[in-house]
């Protein structure tokens, strides 16, 4: 069964802006799904409609088979949402924010308290439960929104740019947590600007541009479509001339930085054998750009044509 099924979803704002041009999207149960796109591509509008924050113009959405036009309450009870912007009253206590959220879903107080302890502890906020929310740092506020979204233990968790503006440590903590949640059976839909994040976490991906889905694919299959990746080699000592390396396009960026293009299915062993023969030492090596990023830029520019 699909966790989410979107058919011909269209959104035209009051000012005439066509945000979605009739998109179709299916997310399988248990998936970790990335919805990627540039600013203004239609990601947040899509998520806003799924989570009932934005009114659709036309189209159909169903959540675990429940049509949102016919069984809205049932469909909504299965969704949890972590928005991009802070959307809780900062004057309220952290515990009240969570208990109230549970109450909106009709969850009895006793169960709400158990879940609050569980999820605030997971997010490292349990000790701060009696503080007013304005005392939290930016990263803590984001963690609070994740804990809040889990209060109804949703089968489908939707996160809109959950790691935007958070430090590296917290980002990795959230990645671990979301992976664990997905392994326990929660379907996750994620929008992000960090393509590395999508590549690491997600099984399937859709790319949206100017209100249209321009690509839907399995993440690994999509990544494999990148024909060439560029390795950046930091050399041990300066090179005065560009060495002639057979079968690899390459260039010297500066005296100690060598870039080498690796075509799909090409092994890199001969490259290293050659460098060893030439007594060229390598201090470090990295990919010039994230592979998904390369593909993303390529697809977006193709769509512009």
């Amino acid at each position: 069964m699909n966790a989410l099924s979107v058919k011909h979803l269209k959104k035209i704002y009051a000012n005439g802006l066509v945000a979605l041009k009739g998109i179709d999207l299916d997310v399988a149960e248990g998936d970790f799904f990335a919805l990627l796109g540039q600013n203004g591509a239609g990601k947040s509008t899509t998520i806003g409609i799924i989570c009932s924050l934005v009114t659709k113009t036309t189209g159909e959405i169903s959540v675990f088979g429940h049509d949102m036009d016919k069984e809205l309450a049932l469909a909504k009870s299965l969704i949890g949402m972590v928005p991009q912007e802070i959307n809780f009253s900062t004057f309220e206590k952290i515990s009240h924010i969570l208990i109230n959220q549970a109450g909106y879903y009709g969850i009895p107080k006793k169960i709400a308290h158990e879940r609050m302890e569980k999820y605030l502890s997971k997010m490292g906020l349990w000790e701060m439960r009696d503080q007013q929310a304005f005392r939290l740092s930016g990263g803590m506020k984001r963690r609070l929104m994740i804990a809040r979204a889990l209060m109804n233990e949703p089968k489908l968790l939707v996160l809109d740019e959950p790691t935007a503006g958070v430090d590296v440590e917290l980002r990795h903590l959230l990645w671990r947590f979301l992976t664990e949640l997905n392994q326990q059976g929660t379907t996750i839909i994620l929008t992000t600007h960090y393509l590395e994040e999508a590549e690491q976490l997600c099984k399937n991906v859709a790319i949206i541009d100017h209100g249209e889905i321009i690509e839907k694919a399995n993440m690994k299959a999509l990544i494999n479509r990148v024909n060439v990746q560029t390795l950046v080699l930091e050399l041990e000592r300066p090179l005065l001339h560009l060495p002639h390396i057979q079968n690899y396009a390459h260039r010297l960026v500066d005296e100690t930085t060598l870039e080498v293009d690796i075509v799909t299915n090409q092994t890199i062993n001969p490259l290293f054998e050659f460098l060893i023969q030439q007594n060229i030492g390598i201090r470090s090596m990295r990919n010039k750009t994230n592979r998904l990023e390369e593909l993303f830029i390529h697809l977006i520019s193709e769509n512009k044509k």
């Binding site: 009932s52 809205l72 109230n100 009709g106």
Partner: protein, 262 residues
């Protein structure tokens, strides 16, 4: 049996949650919500009741201060019920915490009832506070307690809904003070709080009879003092109709997402 999201039980928890949240909010800021009416009304009782009132002859067998007490209680109920939902709902829009409710399975009716009850509770609580304050200045009979209670609750509900509708349309903080300042205050002061409409010329007496605030004040005064300028049953029917109309309109706005969704 596992309750479905539509069940009465889940809705009841949601309404309780909204009500508890509202009560926590207005009691947390009691110095802005509960104390000012007590002080303002004390000043009304001192100035209009004691200083000026002592110079005014009795109205329908009551001293002037006794005559204005029901009107001032009702005025406090109405303004506080209105202010509660108007500011609380607008703040949820302003802080975007309204999204917490919109993503949840709560229906528009549940949200509406939760906010309306919150405003009603504050209105009635302030009414009780003003009644207690009035007892420091004069004695006041209550002839029909049930009518007093019914009118307090009905008026508070009507004005809670009014405040909610105002907040739904409001885009800035200024928008939630416009209606109270330019519509409700004039209607309240011309709504028989400080005088009997029998003292007005016939034309203005007829015009005043269409002022819903006057109808509420008059019915409430009848409940306390057993004196009235209008027909109580007609007044109560009109207030009930107004309540139904406002409830329906507020529900429609919430259901359509007007002012809260894009």
């Amino acid at each position: 049996m596992t309750p479905t999201p539509h069940s009465f039980y889940l809705n009841l928890i949601a309404i309780q949650t909204l009500l508890r949240k509202e009560v926590l909010r207005f009691t947390r800021i009691w110095s802005q919500t509960l104390l000012p009416p007590a002080i303002t009304m004390s000043l009304y009782f001192i100035i209009f009741g004691k200083f000026i009132g002592s110079q005014i002859k009795q109205i329908e067998g009551y001293s002037y201060i006794q005559y204005i007490v029901p009107g001032l209680i009702m005025m406090s109920i109405m303004t506080n019920a209105y202010a509660n939902t108007a500011s609380s709902f607008f703040l949820t829009k302003f802080t975007r915490s309204i999204e917490e409710m919109l993503v949840s399975p709560m229906s528009s009716v549940v949200i509406l009832i939760g906010f309306m009850l919150g405003g009603t509770l504050r209105g009635v609580l302030v009414g009780v506070i003003v009644l207690l304050v009035s007892l420091l200045f004069t004695s006041i009979p209550i002839y029909h307690l049930s009518l007093v209670l019914i009118m307090s609750v009905l008026a508070a509900m009507v004005f809670s809904l009014g405040g909610l509708i105002n907040a739904i349309y409001a885009k800035r903080f200024d928008d939630i003070s416009f209606i109270p300042t330019f519509v409700l205050t004039p209607l309240t002061y011309l709504g028989g709080v400080f005088y009997s409409i029998q003292q007005l010329p016939p034309f203005w007496r007829t015009v005043s009879a269409f002022n819903p605030i006057l109808i509420m004040v008059d019915s409430f005064r009848y409940g306390m003092l057993q004196v009235s300028d209008l027909n109580i049953y007609f007044g109560m029917s009109l207030v009930c109709l107004l309540l139904i109309g406002l409830f329906g309109f507020a529900w429609l706005l919430l259901h359509k997402g007007i002012g809260i969704k894009v």
